[in-house]
């Protein structure tokens, strides 16, 4: 019982000591705060990315295949190969074991496929992305309107000025109720909103956007802006590897690609992208954790330095405590508790700062990241305390080993 009381009393006196030197406490633990904030932010963003990937792939299904222009070849040759409806037809008619082939293309009035588009409805304005899609995309990516209807073949065929709006933008522009006819100003044209689409406006396969237009309508508005991609599903029991090879052969034949030249298209298998993306994110996180570890070591050294200074400053106090009955162990525990509290304080502040950082960064990166995984909080707190113990050990030993009589004589 006495031991528990003793520990509680040490804890209280250590807290009093840190409170007495508020500025020093904050400045000393700042290094740990920054490092732990880094760990927490990375963990938060990683969790968000993982959540997004999982959600995207749950929506899309792991059997989805995307064919898109080889943009890397474009960087090398400055000549972007395009795919057309001819390739779509070739795939549809010659590859067995696949669903209907849907086509889609990023769209912008500037024609670069990158620039955002300004939308407005009444006095509300927003910026975002546009995707031109064929009516068959809904079935391939399993994404159907929450309200209203999806595009029909006739919408594209008749170049109707109709559009679908992602739920996020719909909320932003206050058009969630589409029972009344609403026209969205999109660049310099107006489109009738016929449906609200669910989910994120961004997915790993590039099949999401803020606003969707029928492919035919978009082609009429700016044909140069169309750079087709295809999406299809591998049917159950079909040989996925054989299909991928077949797709590749058919596209090369259709584009008359010379035998020695590389593919000017990329075939993306959803599963492969998922594992690849996760690996890339993990590697980035690994590098960031390494940087953060260095910050943590630097923070730890700072703690050690301040604790050593504290031992020097409080030599007389140590001498007095020894004279009135404190053992070496008591002094050691007292200084270890103090250094652990310092790092714990830094760690808790760091978790809070990291949480805020992950919210800000995830909103900039467009990923989910509003929560910090519980494991990372436990890990950060344990690690903070561990750093405090490791870095406080040297100063604590020094304090404990001071001969009482010499310590009492210190000026």
């Amino acid at each position: 019982m006495y031991k528990i009381y003793r520990l509680l009393i040490i804890l209280k006196s250590s807290l009093d000591e840190l409170r007495r030197n508020k500025l020093r406490t904050v400045l000393t633990s700042f290094g740990i705060t920054i490092a732990i904030a880094g760990v927490t932010a990375i963990a938060g963003i990683m969790a968000g990315v993982e959540q997004d990937l999982t959600r995207d792939f749950q929506e899309l299904g792991s059997e989805t295949i995307i064919v898109k222009p080889n943009i890397y070849l474009w960087y090398q040759t400055n000549n972007l190969s395009t795919m057309s409806l001819k390739e779509q037809l070739a795939l549809q008619s010659h590859v067995r074991g696949i669903s209907k082939v849907a086509s889609f293309s990023p769209f912008s009035f500037q024609g670069d496929g990158i620039s955002g588009t300004q939308f407005s409805l009444g006095d509300k304005k927003a910026n975002g992305t546009v995707l031109a899609i064929s009516e068959s995309l809904a079935n391939v990516v399993n994404r159907y309107p929450l309200k209203g209807r999806f595009f029909k073949f006739s919408d594209s065929e008749s170049r109707r000025r109709v559009c679908l709006v992602n739920i996020g933008l719909a909320n932003q522009l206050d058009i969630s109720d589409i029972s009344q006819t609403k026209y969205l100003q999109l660049g310099n044209i107006k489109c009738r909103v016929i449906g609200i689409m669910p989910g994120s406006n961004k997915d790993i396969l590039g099949t999401s956007a803020d606003v969707y237009l029928p492919l035919g309508t978009a082609a009429q508005l700016n044909l140069n802006a169309i750079s087709l991609r295809f999406a299809f599903k591998v049917l159950e029991d079909a040989n996925a590897q054989g299909i991928l090879k077949n797709v590749s052969n058919i596209l090369r034949a259709s584009q008359k690609t010379p035998r020695s030249s590389p593919n000017n298209f990329i075939i993306q298998d959803a599963n492969e992208i998922k594992s690849l993306s996760k690996e890339v994110y993990r590697k980035i996180a690994g590098v960031l954790f390494l940087v953060v570890s260095i910050a943590l070591i630097v923070g730890g050294i700072g703690i050690m330095n301040v604790m050593l200074a504290s031992v020097n400053e409080r030599t007389r106090e140590i001498g007095l405590l020894r004279a009135i009955g404190a053992s070496q162990e008591y002094i050691k525990v007292k200084f270890l508790v103090e250094s652990s509290l310092l790092t714990l304080f830094g760690g808790v502040l760091g978790i809070a700062l990291g949480y805020l950082t992950s919210i800000v960064l995830s909103s900039i990166l467009g990923t989910s990241g509003q929560y910090i995984p519980l494991w990372s909080i436990y890990a950060c707190i344990s690690f903070s305390i561990l750093i405090g113990l490791v870095c406080g050990l040297g100063p604590a030993m020094k304090a404990a080993k001071l001969p009482p009589i010499d310590a009492l004589r210190a000026s």
């Binding site: 009381y5 106090e317 007095l320 004279a323 009135i324 009955g325 008591y330 009589i405």
Partner: protein, 223 residues
């Protein structure tokens, strides 16, 4: 109660060996009121530190309550200091950031006594030394005499049998010195063994026994 046999203390400074204490043989019985006098550098404080177990003799044996404590380890010595010995220093050695009552509670905190019990005990001692009403003052808000009373109260916290006081009135005016001396006499009447270093012959005269040190040796003893 206390028996020192052939105690020697040497300090080595470079190539020079300084004999701080030379062949000290001393018996102090329970409840004695002992003063130690001597000129500066005579070894009074060294003897006091050895008696208080905060310094080790270079050779010789120290018996306390019949036990040879010369071979005790740090933990045993710390326990002994906590249970048997109370220190009163010339410069009070109070912690400035703690209040009077918190300073008195320190030895009890180290022992692991609960907050409530140690607070109650500290308040009793504050009352004993006549500082009731000043318990929540910090040392900087107290006079020298009052600070020394707090230090005496602290030395009594664990109810030790031996009180060691190293020139407790050295920094006080004569009125405060007399008041402090009165407290020591009162404590002696309560059965405490008081060992006190002093430069003042009047104080030494008021004690049962006085030993005089010179150059690390006991040169005179009179009861």
């Amino acid at each position: 109660m206390i028996e020192l046999k052939a105690i020697q203390k040497k300090y080595i400074k470079g190539k020079q060996v300084i004999d701080a204490l030379n062949n000290i043989n001393l018996r102090i019985s329970k409840g004695q009121l002992l003063s130690i006098t001597g000129s500066s550098g005579s070894g009074k404080s060294t003897l006091m530190n050895i008696l208080g177990c905060i310094d080790n003799p270079s050779s010789g044996t120290y018996y306390l309550n019949g036990l040879n404590i010369s071979e005790y380890n740090d933990k045993e010595l710390s326990n002994l200091r906590s249970q048997e010995i109370g220190f009163v220093f010339q410069n009070f050695n109070l912690l400035d950031h703690l209040t009077a009552v918190e300073n008195v509670m320190l030895p009890l905190n180290i022992k692991g006594v609960s907050f409530k019990s140690s607070f109650n005990k500290a308040m009793e001692l504050i009352e004993l030394v006549g500082l009731l009403g000043r318990e929540h003052h910090t040392p900087l808000e107290l006079s020298g005499g009052q600070q020394q009373r707090v230090a005496i109260a602290r030395s009594l916290a664990n109810n030790p049998n031996i009180i060691l006081a190293d020139e407790p009135t050295g920094n006080l005016d004569s009125k405060s010195s007399l008041a402090i001396l009165d407290i020591f006499l009162k404590l002696n009447k309560m059965g405490k063994t008081i060992i006190l270093i002093t430069h003042e012959p009047e104080i030494a005269k008021a004690f049962d026994r006085n030993i005089v040190l010179s150059d690390g040796s006991m040169i005179n003893e009179g009861e």
